[in-house]
């Protein structure tokens, strides 16, 4: 990398090309005779009662490495990752906020991590009570009476929600055929509606980026089971006509589904139940700060109104008059189950710890998130194009329109941000903004971090005009240079082979 680019990048030397740049695969460290584990000697007779034909002799090509090498390997690999604890990670729609470590500690208590959901109820009261308390808390925050914690992640929550709608409509004689989804929605919405057996009709957004009531009026027929609406939407804009929207949907006997991926924008400030929402999933790994872990585990609880309570997934957690808790499997109108056991219980522990730390002041989360997004917007609106200028809540979506004039795309800007020490925003989503740069700073970023991010984005905008080749060739300082994703799909190598 040239001295000139280094100067332009104006990044500290210690962030340039950290070592190691590449790390061998763990399989490439393997060697006969190396061992990384020990077990106690077998204290029962060493028998094998599996017939030869049903047995394997060996696990060919598996590793032989020591614990020392494992420690080095995974520590080195970790250093090739960017993470929230390093700096702002403004991945829009993903709510990359600080993950409190108390929550991690709590989830690892043996009384939570080393317990089995099919242990007798009498020795599982602590975990049942925890699930019940989390349900009550999420019910209070959403203003809806019941919540299932079972879905494994947001997408499965969406499916659970739409399946409950379907079951309720079937009970009243007609499951209907269509689900309405705005063109700004997350891709999981249409995919989930499809897997619930519905046709999807896409609604074109208004010039403000919100739902167009006239479009909704004409699309909302008695063939429509539900409207799936993200609140605030993926542009970060609150549907200020939400009460009118719910009235239109309900007037035709449909259900209003709220995609709660963006609950961080109004948690503790407003309640979906008061908006006329009938069913809503939340992402514990977004609003409630359970760690994203490099892509999961998630957890996607779903809150429902009274009409859908009989259809909740099985089992539900219930409290007896004597204060003890039990699992209720006897729910004949349930949609059934969508996974094994009770859900991602470890995430329930973390989410309850998180909510408890804020308690009745949890509205501060939303207030901080909205303040930060608006601050970033104010700092960048004169250099990046804002296709929709409706008020922003927790995130702001710019586009690369002005930078395209210099031949630079949103993806190039994203890569260049890495040189400045930031994770890029979400790019190319929502689909209704061509060349989107979707920025969600979250409430856990302080002013100095936001200022540094704004400064970097402005610097990049200047580079796009004055020396676009620097941006087009980015990133310059990451462990690897731009990765050939097209080549990966063309010539598939999906595993190591000796």
């Amino acid at each position: 990398m040239s001295v000139e680019i280094q100067e332009k990048a104006s990044v500290p030397q210690d962030r340039l090309r950290p070592e190691p740049r590449v790390e061998p695969l763990v399989f490439e460290r393997s060697g006969e005779g190396k061992v990384g584990y020990s077990l106690p000697p077998l204290d029962v007779p060493d028998v094998c009662a599996i017939p030869e034909a049903l047995r394997r002799a060996d696990i060919e090509d598996e590793t032989c490495v020591t614990e020392v090498e494992i420690a080095r390997h995974f520590t080195r690999l970790s250093r090739l990752n960017f993470s929230i604890d390093q700096a702002l990670y403004p991945l829009g729609s993903c709510t990359m906020k600080h993950n409190p470590r108390t929550n991690e500690e709590m989830a690892r208590l043996p009384g939570f991590a080393a317990v089995h959901p099919l242990a007798p109820e009498e020795v599982s009261q602590g975990s049942l009570e925890l699930a019940w308390l989390l349900e009550r808390t999420l019910a209070e925050l959403t203003g809806l009476p019941r919540v299932t914690l079972q879905p494994s992640a947001g997408a499965q929550g969406e499916l659970a929600g739409i399946l409950m709608v379907r079951r309720a409509l079937e009970k009243s004689g007609n499951p209907r055929k269509t689900v309405l989804i705005p063109d700004s929605a997350h891709g999981t919405n249409p995919a989930s509606a499809h897997f619930a057996g519905y046709k999807v009709r896409e609604l074109k957004s208004s010039p403000r980026g919100t739902l167009d009531l006239a479009v909704l009026e004409s699309a909302m027929t008695e063939d429509v089971a539900a409207l799936m609406l993200t609140v605030p939407n993926t542009l970060g804009v609150f549907e200020d006509q939400i009460l009118e929207i719910s009235r239109i949907v309900h007037a035709r006997g449909g259900y209003l589904y709220c995609d709660g991926a963006n609950f961080n924008a109004f948690v503790g400030v407003a309640k979906p139940g008061l908006m006329g929402v009938d069913v809503m999933h939340m992402n514990l790994h977004k609003t409630f700060s359970t760690p994203h872990g490099g892509g999961g585990p998630g957890s996607g609880p779903v809150a429902v109104g009274e009409a859908l309570v009989p259809h909740l997934p099985r089992p539900t957690v219930e409290r007896r008059p004597d204060g003890t808790f039990y699992l209720d499997y006897d729910r004949p109108d349930s949609i059934g189950r969508l996974r094994t056991f009770l859900g991602n219980f470890g995430m329930f522990v973390r989410a309850l710890a998180y909510i408890s730390s804020y308690g009745n002041r949890i509205g501060e989360v939303a207030r901080g998130a909205v303040l930060n997004a608006n601050y970033v917007r104010a700092g960048l609106a004169d250099v990046y194009h804002l296709k929709y200028d409706a008020p922003s809540m927790h995130e702001v979506v710019f586009s690369d329109k002005r930078q395209q004039e210099h031949g630079v795309s949103n993806m190039d800007i994203a890569k260049r941000l890495m040189d400045y020490g930031f994770h890029p925003p979400t790019v190319s989503f929502p689909l209704i903004v061509h060349g989107a740069l979707m920025i969600e700073p979250t409430e856990t970023e302080g002013k100095p971090g936001l200022d540094a991010f704004v400064k970097a984005m402005r610097e990049i905008a200047r580079e796009c005009e004055e020396s676009p080749e620097i941006v087009l060739g980015a990133p310059h300082t990451t462990p690897v240079r731009r990765v050939d994703e097209v080549g990966a799909a063309r010539n598939l190598v999906l595993r190591w082979k000796p």
Binding site: D43, P45, P110, L118, G295, G336, M418, P479
Partner: protein, 448 residues
Amino acid sequence: MKFLPASDAERREMLAAIGAPSIDALFASVPQAVRQAPDLAAPMSEIEIRRFLGGLASRNANARETAFFLGGGLYHHYTSAIADQMLYRAEWLTAYTPYQPEVSQGTLQSIFEFQTHICLLTGLEVANASLYEGASALVEALLMAERLSKGRRRAVVSAGIHPEYRETVRSYFVNLGLEIVEVPLSADGTTDAAALREAADESTFAVALQSPNFLGLVEDWATGSAAARRVGALSVAVVAEAASLALLSPPGRGGADIACGEAQSLGVPMHNGGPLLGFLSCRTEHQRQIPGRLVGQTQDAEGRRAFCLTLSTREQHIRREKATSNICTNQGLMALASNIHMSLLGRAGLREVATQSHAKAEYLKKAIAGVSGFRIPYAGPTFNEFVVEAPGNAAALVSRLAERRILAGIPLSRWDPADDRRLLVAATEMNTRAEMDLLVAALGEAPK
């Protein structure tokens, strides 16, 4: 508040820069009618959170402080301290989906290694980056087979598949116009091969078999593969106890086209049932229909080996309602834990965990068979779990023993109320002979 880094002065400066009089003013688009503060308790300090949640945790019987024999698709196996401590590193814990490969090579390479481990264990050629857990992994495997069949509508599944997996399949399938035929078990507790063959017809897209099956009995993958092959369907192998893959003949060798299930046993604590670790592997010829995330090897602009997510045109964020699946997240952190575990134990350790689990279960099975009034109803080979028939009500027995800190097993009445005298008992390398002797003695003393 301790997770909100702005000072009062900074907040004022930010509002001034925005040109808003107050934070409330930024919420002007939220109608007053929908605003309401939540009725929750006051904020808790860290000390109070530890007290509160620690109190709840102390009321659960945990596997470290009991003689523990529960399984049923979730097992108490050895995990090394290094795996969990590695998970605490912020670079793993607080990163997200590696959409930007230049700053995510750690996660990407770890997934690539995980995919390789799953291939080696299942004997198949391709594996994805993980799925939520076993039951939804089976759903995804069946839907994949359905897509590959181009128009077939029937899945034939053995009744030996975990009942919660089968219930999950029904929840997903009921609205998709797909038919599920469940083939009963024969008297010996394994899948009725003739009935399986009969149920699979020209409209069948998949034949699914679990081994060890839900009753703990080892099945022959070839039974499912033969029935599938005859009608041009795909053979789906379900594994709910993945530790067994190190000892039993792998699905790939038994002719399975897709292997799927639960890999929790390979390095993930029980977590009271979640987060777990679903897996799915298949043959190369079917790789373009595999659901979920997939990491591939490629190069960077300087020709260096690098990894990235690949074939994402299958996924919902591109294909929307035409995607292969609606799933978005996988189980990133659990796949990492499992990769560390499998890499550490490796060829010898994975094998030893499996052989020890099996030997302990054999010891326990034989000992329980010797207790007056108790029977082992099935004679076929088991891996580390087996059915015990008690002289009286199994659920009452299990509850009584739980008072003595013995978690003896899972009553089968949990899934079939009429099946009230039998329970599933599992053993792993974590059980000592003394614990097993304690269980056997307690069964001997139990009122009949």
